[in-house]
Amino acid sequence: MKLLIANRGEIALRIIRTCRKLGVRTVLVYSEADRESLPLRYADERYPLPGSTPSETYLNIPKLVKAAKDTNCDAVHPGYGFLSEELDFVKACEENGLAFIGPSSTALEKLGNKLQARTTMKDCGVPVIPGSDSALADEHEAAEIAERIGYPVILKAVYGGGGRGMRIADEADEVRRFFRITTLESASAFGRKEIYIEKRLESPRHVEIQAIADRHGKVVSLGERECSIQRRHQKLLEEAPSVALDADQRDKLNDAAVKGLSAAGYTNAGTVEFLLEKTGRFYFLEVNKRLQVEHLVSELTTRIDLVEEQLKVVQNESLELSQNEIRVNGWAINCRINAEDPRANFVPSPGTVIRYHPPTGPGVRIDSALYSGCNVPEYYDSLIAKLATWGVNRSDAIQRMKIALDETEIIGVPTTIPLHRELMRDETFVRGNFDTTYLNEFLPRLDEKILEYEKYAAVVAAAGKAKAPSTRNGEATTKPSRWRTMARTQLMSNSNRGG
């Protein structure tokens, strides 16, 4: 097998690592903005895509298919985001004899968009959230349905994913206003403007089941992930397992996920997301038909290499895994480190990373394509690193995360590290007593903390000035090297002794 990787950044690197282990040859496509990217150093071949915008490059189906054919690839890994759940891309791969690492176009159509997925799940008895059963025609229809199901409501991109293209509205005016923004965002991010509406549940948790299915009808669940730490539907921290589930609920969720995926004839790695109410009632949210950003926490607790399983499935192998052999071991937490400014409402902050020092040590895994001097392009997702820790239990994983975050140095672009740093010290988080609304409650405390950091920054600035070598015409004079001074002293003392 020779694999084309139709993605970039940390996930391209993640896929390449497993391919190298298995001896699968890789071709990595890259945009102009990514011509210095880290994964290019480890792929077997590189294939340039002119341009830098996603639509010119990683979203461009004809260019990607041509790249695969030009390089004699027989399979394509889409990673997450970009074309990972795009039916047209899956079809294009199938028509050109390329094995797509993901579900077949038939299965994708059954779960193809969020609306169809609702119907598929509903039909096999999995509870779904009240909402519209088809795409919204205009803002008036949106407001009408919202009135019927009751506020608050969520406007969602039918073809969306990854937490993008969603807005919450509390009243008809907002529904109308957000209709336009969500439509725009959807068109720009997913190339399709259709949106639909769902009732917003009161303070639910977000719990999801990671599954893998082969082409011989076997679906195996790797257990749940807790993903309730979200800002504007954007997951920021994930863990496995979830403190919220008891054995009975865990069984029910696993069963619902496996049943739903079997009904859709799903193959390859997939995730079934659920919202869990305080009462313990759960609703199907959506199926993520790809390898997910947070897959690494499941890998840490089950010791399964999901990309390896994906590659086996696509080669028609039967899964060797069996459900009663899957053991969830210990606890894993993943912090998403995004190039976003926590001081300025988390605006994306592309730029140059002038220094990068990753943490290591027992139970620490970091998936990142950063290096000192690299550029974080403005064109793509702001995720720049996934820092995960594994511990024998939750508090062990948290302790390790505290240290790992402290050791992480990313200088040059502001990141979400301060948020994670404070979360690890937050009582509510440490107790595990949170839901999807918790981060909003927590963020003002983060703002206060960051304002406090400013005071630290002021004194460090003064110390930095006091310690700075004297400057002449604005240029720093060279400092004597301490090594050289030591070497000279030693040399002199040696020659003295000799003389």
């Binding site: 993008r164 793509y380 140095e409 990141t415 004194v459 460090v460 600035a461 003064a462 110390a463 700075a468």
Partner: protein, 175 residues
Amino acid sequence: MVSRLRAFRVEINGALYNVSMDQMGKDKFRAQVGEAFFEMEAVSTGAITTWLVRHADETVRGETMALPNDRVDVWLAGIPFPATVQTIGTGGYSVPPEEHRQRSIGGQVRALMPGRITSVLVKKDELVKAGTPLLILEAMKMQNEIGSPIAGKVKSISVREGATVKKDSVLITIE
């Protein structure tokens, strides 16, 4: 080592801090801002100096890079705090001047990040409230609604829909 007392005026993001500082050793400093005391130690020096800053029972890491014209780039827990540092004298501790923070607020709406204007939601001379959405800036796949910082009238619109803008460029002026 004889301690050296110095005073600095530090400006960060429009806020002013008066810092009294005492050098305790080659790489060690003690500083006071208002009523708060900080201890700092340079643990790695070079073009970028790494500091451990202790305050109360907490230790935070920071980095500094001294630049010309009194500017010092500072990062704390990875957050950039570009600072301007003026030496205002040496001498003993005086009563620390009241720390005052002032944020400049203007009617100029600037791009917080490079990106593309996907939508302009107001017209020239339109009256807006603080928070009224003015335009939508797309960056890193996100549509960012940019609201008016103040109440007033749209004096000028410097961008058109579809325009690519650089960070900090003026988009709209409100007066």
